[in-house]
Each structure stands twice: as structure tokens, then as C-alpha cells.
Amino acid sequence: MLYVDNLSLFYDLHLALDNISIEIKEGETVVILGANGAGKSSLLKAISGVEPISGNASLIFEERRLNDIPTNERVGLGLSLVPEGRGLFPDLSVEENLRLGANPKRARQFEARNREFVFDLFPKLASRSKQLVGTMSGGEQQMVAVGRAIMSAPRLLMLDEPSLGLAPIVVLELFAALSEVRAAGVSMLIVEQNVKESLAISDRGYLMETGHIVEQGMAEELRNNTLIQKTYLGST
Amino acid sequence: LASEKSVKIGYAVSKTGQNSAGAGITTAPNYVLWVEDINAAGGLQLPDGSRLPIEIIEYDDRSSSEEVVRAIERLATQDKVDFILPPWGTGFNLAIAPLMDRFGYPQLAVTAVTDKAPEFAERWKKSFWVLGGGGDYSESLADVLAEANKSGKINNKIAVISVADGFGIDLIKSARPAFKKHGFDVVYDKTYPLGTSDFNAMIAEAKASGADSFVAFSYPPGTFALTKQSQIASFNPKVLYLGVGVGFPVYPKIAEGKMEGVMSLGGVDVNSAAFTDYAKRHMEVTGNPPDYWASSVTYASLQMLQQAIERVGLNRDAVSKELSSGEFDTILGKVKLEDNQLRKLWWTGQWKNGNFVAVAPATREGAVSPVIPKPAWQE
């Protein structure tokens, strides 16, 4: 479904991604692990088109070359991102933010169904639908961000640390919900520090270090990988 | 001097900014026309009978005092022009007066209406004030109104509004005692800020005041708005006197041809062949007719300069002396300055049969007697 090959990304002179290649198959959920500053967010940004990438990369989504397609059209193709910092519209209400999620043409037909799903997932959003997002608590905003991405009926949902700032109980619910999303056949690319949870709902994973992929494998393998166990699962 | 090939004449007027409309109607076209007229005749004539063409240096003062001052400095010391024509506006003429004096240029201040003209002429010996002072216009108006009141055509109540800038204040300040002297009762007397575009409230008040005469010492945008809004409000006082703009060529269009009877400052003697000829050439050369107030005076002041040069040459001191003492033959007739001021002017005019004719001073030849009460707004 998504092939990324030869992807490099520079911030001015700083090389944040160095020749990255990854692949996500139809219906697959893939997790990206890595320390802070490894380039995980940069990778998601590059795929979604928020940051420009070097010329020789190839980015292919469902047989379509993405390189020259702007971000907004990638969303239209079914590629949604919940970015670092959430990317919400603070001056708009919860309801309006969700409606904007369903802005792409292909998402409109599923709007009602997806909204129901989002409200099931985060009941709080239903009761706060008129509140301006900017006045919500950090965790509440995170719910809106995930909800909005779901509203866009993605084919590939990319989540950058979706559990950030959520209360433990909500984190559990979130992962339960994501596994439902997965069950619905949506492919996912997740960046998470909640390694155990995210591996539990993933098929495969990559491990990044300073702009490189250093390890990859099936979720099971990664879980048993000693390096990962040591640094990301906190067990010996 | 003999070696010169042309006479350099410079001026700065507002081509842009808030003053550009006024300058573009009254001042700049007359400069163009005058130069055209003279150069067509082979140039400025000098005492020896030779002619030198005029070379013009013009600047845009961008409606800023600082700019106009600098432009004059530039004309005087950089371009070293032979003569400098004045800018548009009372404030700007005053701003440059000390400079003109210092550099020794005669200043024929036209579009400057100030009651302090005698004082200024005294202070700056080479300055000439040729459009009168506010008092001249308002006293003349008071006379006209008094006459009508005496013959029972209007009651003794007046409603008056004035624009809050130097011009409007000058007029209203002298108008108040003048009206009072003639026994008038000023029942509505308000000042409005420059830039006001809606006069409906003031018109309504004036209408309710019971005054037969409505006087507005206004500027063109206000004059136009007052005209249109009075028509709509069917406000048709027996005397309707509006300020600058009534004499502008566009005025009939603005009034939709219903300007009959509207009074204002200035006016012309339409029977004077000199004026009609001038108006025709103005139209030909600049594409627009002259306005009925300051245009012809502007042109006349240029004629005075021209004739002074013809008599005494390019020496600026001599020209200044000649301007203050000589008599000149202009489109306004034969004129002579008194204490550096032109007094032979038309103070009050009125639209009559499609012309803005002069009605006061009534004693002067060419004056027409005013139509009071003003006919209704219909054509």
C-alpha cells in the first residue's frame, strides 16, 4: 500500500532522515520505535508532505507516486496524519473540527458513521461538541485530534504519539479503539513511546536511530528483541 | 541675462494626496494653459521686445508641508529657476512665504484665503495676496442677505454650518459679526469635521430651525454631498449658499442640472469677452472648463507676472516692485494691487441660467442681481 524508498530529509543543513525505506501492506499496522530525535516525526511529516523531501526519493501510495502531490491532496487519497502538536483549529468548536476531518470528498459519505464511532470512543467529545477546542484540556484536545483523523475515513492512518498526555484509562481505551480501527481494515503507521501497547496492536515494526532504520521485524520478534526490551520495554 | 535661452519657471503642486483634487482643478491646469499660451506666442516677452520660451520645472508636493517647503528650496537653490509659481492651499502658501522672501522670489499667492493678508503682505514684502480674505466673502454675503431681508424676501433667521479647517473657520468667524450687524439671528450654527460625508442630520436640523437662509462654508466633497442630500430631503431654503465646489465645472452634473439659484463664493462676469475667451481656451488646452471662482484669478495673476516681466525684465526685485505698483490688463479687466492685495474681486456668485454669475459687489460693473428666493429644485 505504501512504499517509501530512498527517503532523505534535511532541515537546512541538518540531515534528519537518511535514506529511509519502509513498506506498509494493505491492512497492516506498523509501529515505529525510536528515541527522541531519531526522526520518527520527521518520517511521518515527509510521508504526509508537510516537510519537503529530497528529489531522488520514491514515495508510492497505492500505485501512485506521491512526491509531487501536495499534502491536502494526499489527505484526499486517504492518507491522514495526527501530527505532533495535534494540528487542531483552536478557534473552532469540537464539532467543527470533526466536520473538517470529514472534509475530503471520499470521507463525506462515511461522515455519520465515523462520527458515531468517534463519539463511542470518546464520549466526552459528544458532550463538549460546542466547546472551542483551544479551551480544552491537553488530553481532551488529543482526543479531538485522533477523532478528527478518524473522521477523514483514512486508508492509511498515521499517528504521531497519540497517547501523549492521555490519562491511563483513556490510553487503554485508545488502544482498544485503534485495534478496532485496525480490525476495520484501515492500515496504520504509529509512532509511540507506549511500546508495549503499540506492539500489541501492530503487525510489524521498525526501530529508528538518528535518521536510520536500524531494526525491523514482526511485532512478535521485536517484542523478544533484547535491545528493544532493554530500552523500550524497560525490562531486563 | 542676454545669454539665456529660456526662462525657467518652477512650481510644486499637489499631484497626489489629500490636496490633489483642489490643485488639479484650480491651479495646475492654469499653469499649463498659461505656459502653452505664452510659448505659442513665441515665449515671454522681455522689455527689449525679445521673447524667451518658458521652461517648466514641476514637482509634486504630495500634499505635505515638509515636501512643499523642500520643493521650493530645491527650485530656488538647485534648479535656480527665474520665477516660482505658488502651490495650492492657504497653509502651503504660508509655509513657503518665508522662503520665497528669503530667496527673493515674488509670491503671487492665489489659492490662499486669509484675513491676515494685510499683515502678511507687510511681513513679506514680495508676497501678494490676490484672492481676498474670509471676511470679504462673508461680509459680502451678509450684504446680499440684508438686502433681501429688507425687501421682505427672507426672514431674519440664518442656519449656518462650516467645515472645521482654516478656511471654514476664517469665514464663519467673520460671518457671525457680519450677520449680527445686519440684524440677523443665527439660529443654527455648527461646525463639522473635514471628511464628513453625511449631512442628513444637519440638514434635518437646519430645516427644522425655521431659517430662510442656509449657509454652508464647505469644501468640495461636502458641497457636493450637501447638494445631493438637500435635493433628496426636499430642503429648498430661500437662500442656499454653499462653499467651494459650487463654482466647479462638475457642479451642474452633481446637481443634475438643478443648480439654479445656488449661491457661493466668487462668480464671473459672463458678459466679459475676456472671460469667455479664456474659458474656451481652458477647455481646449486642458480638456476641462475652468472653475468659476479661483481659476480666472489664477490665470489673471499669471498675466500680471507676465506683464511685469515684459515691463521690467527678469530681475526679481524689479518684478516685485512692478507687481505691487503697476496696473495690469487681465482677463478680470484692468487690475491694480492695493497694499499687495487684489481687491477687485467678485465675492458672491449665483447659478443663473446655466452660468455661475457674480452678484456682489452689486455696485461693480457686470454684477447681476441675485434671484431670491431660490427656485425649487426642479429644473
Binding site: - | 499631484k15 497626489t16 494626496g17 489629500q18 514641476e58 514637482y59 509634486d60 508636493d61 504630495r62 500634499s63 505635505s64 508641508s65 515638509e66 515636501e67 517647503v69 523642500r70 520643493a71 528650496e73 530645491r74 530656488a76 537653490t77 538647485q78 492657504t90 497653509g91 504660508l94 509655509a95 512665504a97 518665508p98 522662503l99 530667496f103 491676515k116 472645521a164 479647517d165 482654516g166 471654514g168 473657520i169 476664517d170 468667524k173 461646525t191 469635521p193 473635514l194
Partner: protein
Amino acid sequence: MITGAKVSVAIIAFGLLALLPFFLEAYGLGLMIGMLSYVALATAWSMFSGPTHYISLATVAFYGVGAYTVAVLNEGISFPVILLIAVLIGLVLSLAVGVATLRLAGVYFVIFSFGLAELVRQLITWYEVNVTGTLGRYIFLPLEPQDIYWLLLGAATLTLIIGWLVRRSRIGLALRVIGDDEVIAAHIGINLTRTKLLLFALSASLITLVGAIQAPRWVYIEPSIVFNPTVSFLTVIMALLGGPHRLFGPLFGVVPLFLLFEWLSANFPNHYSIILGALFIAIVFVLPNGVLEFLDRFRLRRAKT
């Protein structure tokens, strides 16, 4: 940062400028007067608006008040005293205004400051018309252009020195923090109101001083002349173009723009607007970061090759 060489260059430059009136004729002097006044205005403006990003269009309010003070007081009091009084009036006015205004952010502040300038103008007009009954006022002071030039040179130098001091001081840093993020500013111990007010008043007082110094040049003063909003706009534009974040940025905006205006109005009096507009647009595209930054970059590139 500050070297002896730089100081001596500055002193020599100042000395040369001070001698200029002996070599220039009236027009050249007039040009310098106009330029210096905008240098002082734009530098004073940038002192507050540069770091805080509060774009003030109230320049002409203070400038006009300065000029008007001179017009009102010019008989009987000596000029230096008048200048002092003008500055004091500017100070009081700006403090009063600042208390109210500085709560506003962004464009709300921009337009508020514009409205303020107009309000001052309207109130003065109304007062003159209804209370004193004299709208236009005359200034007959025995001041020659070179006197005005020297005073303006002094004012511009003073402004630059103050600007330099502010920049080096904690309050300068505080302003930059405020410009970046007022929430952080408050939470690291900056008294927002006091800091902004102080600098706003300082900047406004200097602007008032410039207006007062320049007034005698015009002889006749009325509100529509001295409260001409163009002054505010030009100040902003020149400062922005030069680079309001740097001490000499405004200077580098004023000089070329001023000369450009002059050159255009002299050579193309009838097409001034069109050419100016087109050039202006071109400048914005060519110099995205202001003149000073452009020069810097140019120098860097030269140094590299």
C-alpha cells in the same frame, strides 16, 4: 561587541554631519532635514515596535502634538523650553494612552493606534474651533534651516544612542521576549505593563520631540497639516523596509526610500504614484528581510567567494 573603532567612526560621522550646513545650500539642507526627521522617527518607532511587533500607527499623534505645542506656545517662551514642554506633553499623553492600548494585540493594536491618532486630531480641531476659535496657528520663530538641522541631528543621535542603550539593557531583552511570547514573558518575571509602557512612552516622547523641532519650518499649522496620517505610514514602511529589529535598520530603510521618493517626485511628477507603487512592490520581493539584512547577506557572500 562595541569596539573603539566603531565609536570613533560614529563620532567622526556625527562631526561631519554637524559640519554639513556650511557646505550645503538650502535644498541639500532641506533634504537632510527631511531625512533626519524620518531617521529619528523610524528609529524611535522601532525602539518599541521592532522587538514587540506592536505596529503602531499613532506616530503622527505624537508628532502632531509636538508640532502643535510649538504652535501654541511659540510666542513668549524660549524654544528650548518649548521643546521640553512638548516632550513632557508627549510623555504624559503616551503614558495615558499606553495604559489603555497595550492590552490589545496584533492588528487590533494597529488600528487602535490609528484611531487614536485620528481621535487626537479631531479633539484638537474641535477644541480649537469651539474654544479658542482659531484653527490655524502661525509660528514665527527666528529659526534658520540650519538650526533645525542641528536640532534634528541632535534628536536623531539621541534616539540612536537611546536605542543602543535599550538594546544592551535588560529592558531591551524583555521587549524581545514580549515580542516572542507574552505568556513566557510574564512567567519569567517580566512586568508586561510596565515594560511596554515605559518603552512606548520613551519612543513617543522622542517622536514628539521631532515634531516639535520640525514645526517652525512650516510657519502655518493646522490639524490637517500636522496630523497627516501619511507620516505614520511612512515611518512604519521605512522602518519595516530597513529592518526594525536592528539598531541601524530603520536608518537603512529611510535613506534609500526617502531619496527614491524625492527622485521620483522630481523626475516623474505626473507618474510618481505608478512608478513608486511598482518599485515598492519590486523592493518587497527583492529584499524580503529588509535592506540591512540584504546588505549583510551580500557581504557574507562576498566574503565567502
